[in-house]
C-alpha cells in the first residue's frame, strides 16, 4: 500500500506543481505582509504583521482547500479510465487497499499543497523578526490541514462512483457548507419542519470548517483551543476514509 500511496502522491505533486504553488504562496504572503495594501476587514484597515498573519493564513487556507478538491478529483477516475488498475489488481492488491491508498495519496498531496502555500510565511516571519510566530503559525496550518484532509477524502471517495463533474460540484458544495456550517446550523435550528431536519442531517455529515479554522486562529492568538470541532472533523475524515473499504467500481 505504501508503494501505491507514494506513487499517487508523486503523480499529484510534480516538480512544476510544487514550484507554482509555492510561488503563488510567496506572492500572497508578500502582498499581505508588506502592510501597504488597502486590505480592510469589517471596515478596518489591516496593518501590523501580527494582524496580517491570520489574514494570510485565511487566504492560503481558502486556496489550499480548493486545491484539495482539484488535486483529488481525477486520481481514481484516471486509474480506471486508463486501466492502470489492471496491472495493480492482478498483483494481489485488494480493491479496498487500492482505493484506500489512492485516497491517502490524495490527502498527502493536498497537505503538501497547503504547507507549500504557507511555507513562505516562515520566511516572512524571519524577515520581519517574528521568530516566535513560526511555531504557532505552523500549528495553525496543521489544524487547518484537517479541513483539506476531509475535502480530499470526501472528493476521492465520491470519485470512485460518481462522474467527475458531479464530484467536483459536490466537493465545492461541501466546502461552502463546511465554511458556512455555523450559520447554516443556526438557521436550521431557528426553523422547523422537514427542510430544517434535512438541513441538520446534512450538516451532521459535514465538518464545521469554520470552527476548525477558529481553533487555528486561537492557536495564533493564544486563546484556549476547543478540541470538539477538531475531533468531530477527524471522526468524519475517518468515516470518509472507511468508505474506501466498501466502494469500488464493478468494471475495471
Amino acid at each position: 500500500m505504501l508503494a501505491l500511496i507514494h506513487n499517487t502522491f508523486r503523480e499529484r505533486i510534480r516538480g512544476k506543481t510544487f514550484y507554482i504553488v509555492g510561488f503563488i504562496g510567496m506572492v500572497i504572503m508578500l502582498f499581505i505582509t508588506t502592510g501597504d495594501s488597502n486590505l480592510t476587514i469589517n471596515g478596518k484597515k489591516v496593518t501590523g504583521f501580527e494582524q496580517m498573519v491570520p489574514v494570510a493564513l485565511s487566504i492560503a487556507g481558502f486556496v489550499s482547500n480548493l486545491l484539495a478538491v482539484m488535486v483529488s478529483l481525477r486520481t481514481i477516475p484516471d486509474e480506471f479510465e486508463r486501466k492502470t488498475t489492471h496491472l495493480v489488481l492482478i498483483r494481489g492488491i485488494k480493491p479496498w487497499q487500492y482505493m484506500f491508498s489512492l485516497t491517502v495519496g490524495n490527502i498527502l498531496a493536498s497537505l503538501f499543497c497547503m504547507f507549500s502555500l504557507n511555507a513562505s510565511l516562515a520566511i516572512f516571519c524571519i524577515a520581519y523578526g517574528r521568530l516566535g510566530l513560526i511555531i504557532p503559525a505552523f500549528l495553525s496550518v496543521a489544524i487547518m490541514g484537517i479541513n483539506s484532509m476531509f475535502l480530499s477524502a470526501a472528493v476521492s471517495v465520491m470519485s470512485i462512483k460518481a462522474p467527475v463533474y458531479i464530484t467536483g460540484i459536490t466537493g465545492i458544495f461541501i466546502y461552502a457548507a463546511g465554511i458556512l456550517h455555523g450559520v447554516l446550523d443556526t438557521l436550521a435550528n431557528t426553523a422547523q419542519g422537514v427542510g430544517a431536519v434535512l438541513a441538520r442531517a446534512t450538516l451532521f455529515l459535514i465538518p464545521d470548517f469554520s470552527a476548525v479554522q477558529q481553533q487555528a486562529s486561537n492557536v495564533l492568538t493564544g486563546a484556549p483551543i476547543d478540541p470538539e470541532p477538531i475531533l468531530s472533523s477527524l471522526i468524519l475524515l475517518y468515516l470518509a476514509m472507511s468508505l474506501t473499504f466498501v466502494l469500488f467500481r464493478k468494471e475495471v
Binding site: 465554511i179 450559520v183 435550528n189 426553523a191
Partner: protein, 327 residues
C-alpha cells in the same frame, strides 16, 4: 495487513472515545467564562447598569447544539432545550423566569447571518472565510445577557404595567398596519427629523438636555403618531400604547445593553449604541432605540427615574415629559 487493520480500528476507537469524553465536558469553557465575567459586574457595577438587575438571580440556559446548560446557584445542569428553536429571550416557567441565550459560537453565527444580509457581500465573504470569524465580541455577548436579564426582571416585576399597555393594543393588526404605513415618504421624513433630534439631545452627555428641544421631540413624535393613525386607520391610543410598550420592554433592555458596555469600559461598543440612535430603521427596532435614548435622557434629568418607572404606571415617554415639565 492484520497490523494495519488493528491500527486503523484502534484509531477509530480512540477518536470515538475522545469525542465522547469531549462531549461530556458540558458547557464550553468560553461560555462559562463569559457568564462569570457577566456576574462579576454585580460587584459594584450594577448601579451603572440597572439597580437590582442580578443575572445570578435567574437561571441562565445557554443553548449549544441540541442541549441547554442551565447555570444557577453555582451549578450547571444539562437538559433538552425547552424551545424548539434557538432564541434569545426570557422565558417564564413554573419554577421561575429563565434567561435563554445561545452559546457564544452560535451568536457568532447569528452575527454572521445578520452581516450577510445587512453588510456588503465582500465583507460577509471575507469574514466567513477568515480563520477568525468571530462576529460578536465578548462584551457584546455579555451585553446581550444583560438585555435578556432585563426582560427577566420585567417579567418578574412589571407584569401589571406590561399587561396594561398590552391591552391597549389587543388588536394584532396594529403592528401590521403601522408597518405598512410607516414607509410613507412624509412619515419617513418626520422619523428622520425625530431621530436626529434625539441623537443631538442624547450625545452631549455632560450637559442637561434643553427642555425646549425635548418638547420639540415630543411634538414631532405626536405628529408622527397622529399621521400614522390617520393614514393607517388605527386608533391613536392603540399606536401610543404600542410604542410605549416596546419602548418600555425593549427600550429599557437596549439601554441596559448600552450601560453594560459602559460598565465593561468598552467605549467603542457604547459608541455604537449611541450612533444607532440616529439611524432610521423600520419596524419595532426603532422603539428599541428611541426607548434607549429616552432612558439616557432621563439619566441626566432625574437620577431616580428608574425607581419611578418601576413603581409607577407611567410609560417612558410620559415620565420624560413629566420630568421636563417639572424642571
Amino acid at each position: 495487513m492484520k497490523a494495519f487493520k488493528f491500527v486503523y480500528l484502534l484509531i477509530g476507537v480512540l477518536l470515538a472515545a475522545s469525542a465522547l469524553l469531549t462531549s461530556m465536558r458540558g458547557l464550553p469553557e468560553e461560555d462559562r467564562e463569559l457568564y462569570e465575567k457577566a456576574c462579576m459586574l454585580e460587584n459594584g457595577r450594577l448601579e451603572q447598569i440597572w439597580p437590582g438587575l442580578y443575572i445570578s438571580h435567574y437561571p441562565v440556559a445557554i443553548r449549544k447544539g441540541n442541549a441547554e446548560y442551565v447555570i444557577f446557584n453555582g451549578e450547571i445542569k444539562k437538559r433538552k432545550p425547552i424551545l424548539p428553536v434557538v432564541a434569545c429571550t426570557a422565558y417564564p416557567s413554573e419554577d421561575g423566569v429563565y434567561i435563554l441565550v445561545p452559546a457564544k459560537s452560535v451568536m457568532d453565527s447569528l452575527g454572521q447571518i445578520i452581516e450577510g444580509f445587512s453588510g456588503s457581500f465582500e465583507d460577509a465573504l471575507i469574514s466567513q472565510f477568515s480563520i477568525n470569524n468571530k462576529k460578536i465580541t465578548d462584551n457584546q455577548y455579555i451585553s446581550v445577557l444583560y438585555h435578556e436579564a432585563m426582560h427577566a426582571l420585567q417579567l418578574s416585576w412589571w407584569e401589571e404595567k406590561i399587561t396594561a399597555l398590552a391591552e391597549g393594543i389587543a388588536d394584532a393588526e396594529v403592528e401590521a398596519k403601522m408597518a405598512e404605513t410607516e414607509s410613507d415618504p412624509e412619515i419617513q421624513a418626520m422619523y428622520e427629523e425625530q431621530v436626529e433630534l434625539l441623537y443631538d439631545l442624547v450625545v452631549p452627555e455632560d450637559s442637561i438636555p434643553d427642555a425646549g428641544a425635548v418638547r420639540e421631540y415630543f411634538r414631532i413624535r405626536t405628529d408622527i403618531q397622529d399621521m400614522l393613525s390617520t393614514k393607517a386607520g388605527i386608533d391613536a391610543n392603540a399606536i401610543k400604547s404600542y410604542i410605549d410598550l416596546y419602548e418600555l420592554l425593549e427600550g429599557t433592555a437596549r439601554y441596559v445593553e448600552a450601560r453594560t458596555a459602559l460598565a465593561l469600559s468598552d467605549e467603542e461598543l457604547y459608541g455604537q449604541y449611541l450612533l444607532s440612535l440616529k439611524e432610521t430603521v423600520y419596524g419595532r427596532e426603532k422603539y428599541y432605540r428611541s426607548g434607549m435614548g429616552i432612558c439616557m435622557l432621563l439619566d441626566r434629568l432625574d437620577p431616580n427615574w428608574k425607581q419611578y418607572l418601576s413603581e409607577g404606571s407611567l410609560s417612558l415617554a410620559e415620565l420624560l415629559e413629566n420630568v421636563v415639565e417639572d424642571s
